[in-house]
């Protein structure tokens, strides 16, 4: 160190305070505050949109991340979301002044049946990229419940089988009918 000084400056954004600050108070909103996805079977995807409204006159970039709330913040029946990589969304969104942006969030559950019949919770965090001493952050509660074990996969194969049998039977009847008709002529 060059020398010791009696003081160190803990001037929080002094420059910003001396110059006319573009942001006197954070002014943005997010909707909806909570999203509940029910009956999402393993191997399937669900999508929804969040709306970020920038009420400031200038453009701002917002950062999106996931956050696993502490246990006391989770409803008793809901466990921590197993893997935040199952959620996909843009991690940065620029919103022009006095306008809004829709952010598409996709939830994809892996196809393993061990993920069936679960109830999870995770929060999505939305905060401006620009920082002052105080910065506002919003959490969106995302509640995800997966469908019952194997339900979708098994019934899906039943449908195919049943439709196949019907088609084959109708085809057989048709052939039989036309052959008989030809013979009678």
């Amino acid at each position: 160190m060059k020398r010791q000084s009696k003081y160190v400056w803990l001037i929080v954004a002094l420059v910003a305070s001396l110059l006319p600050s573009p942001v006197l108070a954070w002014s943005f909103s997010v909707s909806p505050p909570e999203v509940k996805i029910d009956n999402l079977p393993p191997g399937e995807k669900a999508e929804f949109n969040l709306t970020i409204r920038n009420k400031d006159n200038i453009s701002h970039t917002f950062m999106l991340t996931t956050y696993n709330p502490e246990e006391s913040q989770r409803r008793p029946e809901r466990a921590e979301f197993p893997d935040s990589n199952w959620l996909s969304f843009p991690h940065q969104v620029e919103v022009q002044g006095n306008s809004e942006a829709k952010v598409k969030v996709k939830v994809a559950i892996p196809s393993q049946q061990k993920w069936a019949g679960k109830d999870w919770k995770i929060w999505l965090s939305i905060t401006p990229e620009d920082k002052d001493l105080l910065v506002v952050n919003y959490y969106i509660r995302l509640l995800v419940s997966t469908g019952e074990e194997g339900e979708r996969v098994e019934t899906g194969s039943h449908v195919g089988l049943i439709v196949g049998i019907i088609v084959l039977l109708l085809l057989g009847c048709g052939i039989y009918y036309f052959r008989r008709k030809v013979k009678t002529k």
Binding site: Y7, V8, A25, P32, D38, L133, L134, V136, T155
Partner: protein
């Protein structure tokens, strides 16, 4: 002949009737429920605290101490308020010189503390701000609100809080006092406190 074919088709349909509930079950739909008419929207004012030069091992309090910052609920849902701090960094070279944020109200060399006080709580009650995002909670002993989260109920509801800063112990101690290391007349330090809102 036609009768025979019709009978076969009828038998097939009758045979498939037991399968219909299974088919219906197979069409279980994914439901997404969200209240798009609700939004989270809070405003903080002010968002800057210009302290100026600080001395080691000293306490600084916002003015006013309890109603320095106003949180206003501009949205239309009930929100809980949370708070998180960060280490303070030297603006010119953040990795070269930092002050670690204390997890309580103790300070040490290069370890500082930030605390908050909610208006109308006990006068001397300050709660440490840590790097872990936590609910802001009232401290008002003997009252029902003690230990309850800071909640803004509905549009235009307001809450107030103030901050306290405890600077680190000196980097270099001399007779009865001390100094922070500085280069070229002082270092400008900065930190950020994140105030979060989540639907209650």
């Amino acid at each position: 002949m036609k009768k025979r074919i019709a009978s076969i088709i009828l038998v097939i349909i009758l045979a498939l009737i037991p399968c219909l509930p299974a088919l219906a079950e197979g069409n279980s739909t994914v439901t997404i429920t969200m209240a798009t008419d609700k939004d989270i929207d809070i405003i903080l004012e002010p968002i800057l605290w210009n302290i100026g030069d600080v001395e080691p091992n000293t306490e600084y309090v916002t003015d006013p101490y309890a109603k320095w910052c106003t949180i206003t609920n501009e949205g239309n849902c009930v929100v809980d308020i949370r708070i998180k701090g960060e280490d303070a960094v030297w603006v010119d070279n953040p990795s070269a010189y930092t002050w670690q944020l204390s997890s309580d109200n103790t300070t040490a060399k290069r370890k500082y503390a930030l605390l908050y006080h909610i208006a109308q709580d006990d006068a001397d009650s300050y709660t440490p701000i840590t790097t872990i995002d936590t609910q802001m909670k009232h401290v008002k002993k003997g009252y029902e609100i003690n230990g309850k989260p800071l909640t803004l109920i509905g549009h235009d509801d307001k809450a107030y809080f103030g901050l306290k800063l405890l600077t680190p112990n000196p980097d270099f101690a001399v007779d009865g006092g001390g100094y922070f290391y500085a280069s070229g007349g002082g270092r400008k330090m900065e930190t950020t406190i994140t105030i979060s809102a989540v639907a209650a």
